[in-house]
């Protein structure tokens, strides 16, 4: 187990290194520069700006300089939010996104697993159809429709919540988390149902039943274990998608998070901030995948993790 972890960690570092490299050169390939605007910029001033924000010199030396800074934990200055460094920006935005993502994930799992497992156990029942129909709706309606409609109904018409903002727990968290969670809950419900249906007829479950175990035990200890493998393997990418998908939600509800920062910085060609968000985002991703593999290990002992 320890060796496994050590090896995975080594891979993680390599992954992140590649990620940094690819992103660094990809964002630099895109046309446009951080300081261009509708008004013309004096070339001399542009040079000074480039110098100030570490964008001068040949690209490879910038790259090396960036890596050097990265090793010391310095992510550089932001060329758009000029009074702050990337470290400061990330330090304040990341926890917000994480909180939002976590709330959404918990909501999604809660809703999705319940619906999916019950639907599978009552295959072809009205509940099955209803929950799957609900899941389809959750999948079929874009977040940017769900969000504003929730705002319209619950904030503007009923006045239960603020329209935007992310200050007070749990009041300000409910609408954004729910908006973000719905499509994921739907996916989880579908995957859980499909997975459960798959295993529910398998030999070991039948054996368990034949042993005369309580249905509850059969379901919770045997069926769920195998049936939820697809869900488990989905959690990693889902968590990533939630972090990314929070972009729309963060826009609608004005949540000061990473996703929003990421897209604006990409649009503004705030290279350092783009790199910073990608690094945080990438690290989270690798971390979640690591956890998923561990979970696989624990749930299904037959899986040999290389």
């Amino acid at each position: 187990m320890l060796r496994f972890l050590a090896r995975r960690l080594a891979w993680t570092v390599l992954t992140l290194f590649l990620l940094v490299t690819i992103t660094f050169f990809m964002i630099r390939l895109a046309p446009g520069d951080p300081f261009s605007g509708e008004k013309d910029l004096d070339p001399e001033v542009r040079l000074q700006l480039n110098k100030k924000y570490g964008l001068d010199g040949p690209l490879h030396s910038q790259y090396l300089r960036y890596l050097g800074g990265l090793l010391q934990g310095d992510l550089g200055p932001s060329s758009k939010q000029k009074d702050f460094t990337v470290n400061e920006i990330l330090r304040s935005r990341f926890p917000v996104s994480l909180r939002l993502g976590f709330c959404a994930m918990v909501l999604a799992l809660l809703l999705g697993l319940t619906a999916g497992i019950v639907a599978a156990l009552r295959h072809n029942s009205p509940f099955d159809y209803a929950s799957m129909a609900g899941a389809t709706v959750g999948l079929a309606v874009p977040t940017f429709v769900v969000g504003p409609i929730l705002v319209l109904v619950f904030a503007l018409k009923l006045g239960w919540f603020n329209t935007v903002g992310f200050d007070v727990f749990p009041r300000d968290y409910i609408l954004p988390s729910l908006t973000l969670a719905l499509p994921f809950a739907a996916r989880i419900a579908r995957l859980a149902r499909a997975g459960m249906l798959e295993v529910i007829h398998q030999d070991y479950v039948r054996t368990a039943r034949a042993k005369g175990l309580l249905e509850r035990v059969v379901v919770l200890r045997h069926a769920v274990r195998g049936g939820l493998l697809p869900v488990v393997s989905y959690i990693g990418p889902a968590m990533a998608d939630i972090l990314a998908g929070s972009l729309v939600v963060e826009t609608i509800f004005r949540v000061p998070g990473l996703g929003w920062e990421f897209v604006t910085s990409a649009g503004n060609r705030d290279y350092m901030l783009v790199m910073g968000t990608v690094i945080v985002y990438g690290s989270m991703l690798v971390l979640f995948n690591l956890l998923v593999d561990l979970a696989y290990h624990l749930i299904d002992p037959r899986v040999r993790v290389a």
């Binding site: 100030k52 010199g57 009074d83 504003p148 503007l156 826009t251």
Partner: protein, 673 residues
């Protein structure tokens, strides 16, 4: 000033609207609206071309020679009763975006300007109605030397928020900061009217110690980087001696061995410039002097009618020298920031809100009514509109275009002229026809450009597409830019003439015209306008029109490289003079970006600088604009911008003006009736 505007507002009624605005709003129209009325007392007028009766006598140039400054605070804009004291003086508004910085030297945008107006005060400030300059931190000034020298007297009671006295030296320091290369200032050119300022900024003032100008990377001797601005000593040159008067190109090839403390290395000659220290001989030559604690003398290289306005600009705002020296980059944060404006920065949560509270040290504190200002940075108009509806903000400075029909029915909706023009650039660079290399590209033919212009139904665009009250533009300088300059009546919408011109150019019915693409940056409003215009051109001229939607930075890049056929553009004037619109179209002008070049036009714009006589000046501008918008059309004007938004009636003291600048000192909260 306000009286003039009011009468102009009356004039506006001439033409189609005359009948509607019954005489009561005409010339006499006194200040109906004391503070009791939400309706702005008098919008800056819209002179309506020919209909303008007796345009006010041109006020340019101002009478040179010693003259006292206007008195400053205008009683007219204060609350008349004490009624307002009963209400919480809190204003929440949406600033539209997260500001880039709180450092005046580095800021560039309008949202930044709104914020800095709260925490800092320039020597002059915008008049709440006319947006013309009026006394700010300077209580008076004297203009002498034929408009070249300005002597400002700073208020005796002007204080920084930490209690320090605001001195002339503080302004000198702040402007030095703008001109010196660190921190790099994108708008340093705003101060280039000052004598030797440009030369100093570029390091071209001779007889000062040499410093490393840029790209210190290449010098790296022994791996030690020399920093920009470090003063160096020349040790040896190559070739030795350097030839006299080499060209710039040649000079780049010469190198110089320099020494800077322990570090040394070779640099290109072009990298060496005069040094930029505050107390060095270089800056001493710049026309900014502080002979007394309260006296600041500014010398300009030539008379500039709009220099006082420049002093209200964000770039000219002062910073508190000790704080900046001590904290550097960290000086522009809540808790550290020291300003001399009516408000102090209480807290700043990026992407959430900025909170300002009344500055007890401000000289005019007794006249500041709002206790607290909250600025929200919501970029997307949909949630911003929802916030307004839910009473979470009091003032929205823009509205969602897609909901404009609904928004217009809201009683709080307002719309007023803005000094800006929405137009299309046409790529005029000489190049061959894509299908037939023997012919020139159709867009290089001015008849084609005229045809494109006349085939656009701008009135329909304003009334049916943008719908917020924009004004169809056939000229380029927006109405209200200067009282003595009425908007040009350019080419009308005339489909038949457009077709005839196109045929004359050799493309009858659009035959032989290559496909033309409209480049615009990703935004719903640009998209709908482009789609409508494409449809009009296709229907009216029979040509094929494509759309090219590019992300903002990509769009800028393409415009900068003139890599487009037709490109959407917008221009907001910097100061109240047609020059801010017209001087950008000179050959190879930094903001020209169309490849258009017209020697006569260049000559006219050059001549304006020398022409002082008002009618002549006006005529020169007029001729130039006629070349631009009637004969040549490197740009196709579409509409004049308006500022539009939603504002609660309880927000008093906001006067719509053409620069959309509203000094916070004049605003208070008092519910209606």
């Amino acid at each position: 000033m306000s009286r003039r505007s009011r009468s102009l507002f009356g004039c506006l009624a001439a033409g189609a609207l005359a009948a509607l605005l019954i005489a009561s709003c005409g010339q006499k129209a006194g200040p109906v609206s004391g503070p009791g009325a939400t309706g702005p007392a008098g919008a800056v007028g819209l002179p309506d071309g020919a209909a303008t009766p007796a345009a006010p006598q041109a006020t340019w140039p101002p009478q040179w020679g010693p003259q006292p400054a206007p008195t400053g605070w205008d009683k007219q804009f204060e609350p008349t009763s004490q009624e307002w004291r009963k209400h919480a003086q809190v204003l929440r508004f949406n600033n539209g975006t997260e500001i880039e910085t709180l450092d005046p030297a580095r800021m560039t945008g309008v949202p930044e300007h709104r914020i800095i107006m709260a925490v800092c005060e320039g020597l002059t400030m915008y008049h709440p109605v006319s947006s013309e300059p009026m006394p700010g931190a300077a209580e008076s000034w004297v203009i002498s030397d034929g408009g070249r020298t300005y002597t400002f007297r700073i208020r005796a009671d002007a204080r920084w928020s930490n209690g320090d006295t605001v001195t002339a030296a503080d302004y000198r320091y702040s402007w030095w900061r703008v001109l010196a290369p660190q921190p790099p200032s994108q708008y340093s050119y705003m101060l280039f009217d000052i004598e030797n300022a440009k030369a100093f900024a570029e390091g071209r003032i001779a007889e000062t110690p040499l410093a490393l100008h840029r790209d210190a990377e290449r010098t790296q001797p022994n791996g030690q980087s020399l920093a920009v601005g470090e003063i160096v000593e020349v040790v040896k040159t190559w070739p030795d001696p350097l030839p006299e008067n080499p060209s710039d190109e040649e000079a780049k090839k010469f190198s110089v061995e320099v020494k800077c403390g322990e570090k040394s290395g070779w640099v290109g000659k072009s990298l060496l410039r005069g040094a930029w220290q505050l107390d060095g001989p270089g800056f001493a030559k710049v026309g900014i002097e502080a002979p007394g604690v309260r006296t600041l003398v500014v010398r300009l290289s030539e008379p500039k009618p709009f220099f006082l306005e420049v002093l209200s600009h964000e770039t000219s705002m002062p910073v508190h020298p000790p704080t900046v020296e001590k904290h550097g980059n960290q000086a522009f944060r809540a808790g550290v920031f020291v300003g001399n404006g009516p408000y102090v920065l209480k807290s700043w949560e990026p992407r959430v809100r900025m909170v300002f509270e009344k500055n007890p040290a401000y000289w005019g504190r007794d006249r500041v009514e709002l206790d607290r200002i909250v600025a929200h940075p919501v970029e997307n108009m949909e949630p911003a509109y929802a916030m307004y509806k839910a009473d979470e903000v009091d003032w929205l400075m823009d509205v969602p275009l897609a909901k404009i029909d609904e928004v217009k029915l809201h009683p709080d909706y307002y719309v007023a002229p803005l000094m800006g023009t929405y137009f299309y650039r046409v790529n005029c660079t000489a190049r061959p026809h894509p299908d037939d290399p023997s012919r020139p590209h159709p867009l290089t033919d001015r008849r084609v450009r005229q045809a494109l212009n006349m085939a656009m139904d701008k009135k329909t665009i304003c009334e049916k597409v943008t719908k917020a009250g924009q004004i169809p533009a056939s000229g380029y300088v927006p109405p209200g830019t200067a009282p003595w300059y009425e908007p040009l009546q350019g080419l009308p919408h005339d489909r038949e003439r457009a077709r005839a011109l196109l045929a004359e150019a050799g493309y009858p019915g659009g035959k032989g015209m290559p496909k033309i693409e409209i480049l615009y940056n990703t935004l719903e409003s640009h998209k709908t306008v482009a789609e409508a215009i494409a449809d009009m051109w296709q229907q009216n001229l029979g040509i094929t029109v494509g759309l090219h939607n590019a992300e903002w930075k990509v769009y800028l890049d393409q415009v900068d490289r003139i890599d487009y056929h037709i490109a959407r553009a917008g221009w907001i004037g910097d100061y109240l003079d047609p020059n801010t619109f017209l001087d950008m179209w000179v050959t190879k002008g930094g903001n020209n970006n169309t490849g258009w070049s017209h020697p006569e036009y260049d000559r006219l714009i050059e001549r304006v600088k020398e022409v002082g006589e008002p009618t002549k000046r006006r005529e020169t501008f007029r001729t130039a604009e006629r070349i631009l918008c009637v004969d040549e059309l490197p740009i196709l004007p579409i509409y004049y911008y308006v500022n539009k938004g939603l504002k609660k009636p309880k927000v008093r003291g906001v006067h719509m003006n053409i620069k959309d600048m509203h000094p916070w000192q004049y605003i208070w909260i008092e519910p209606e009736e």
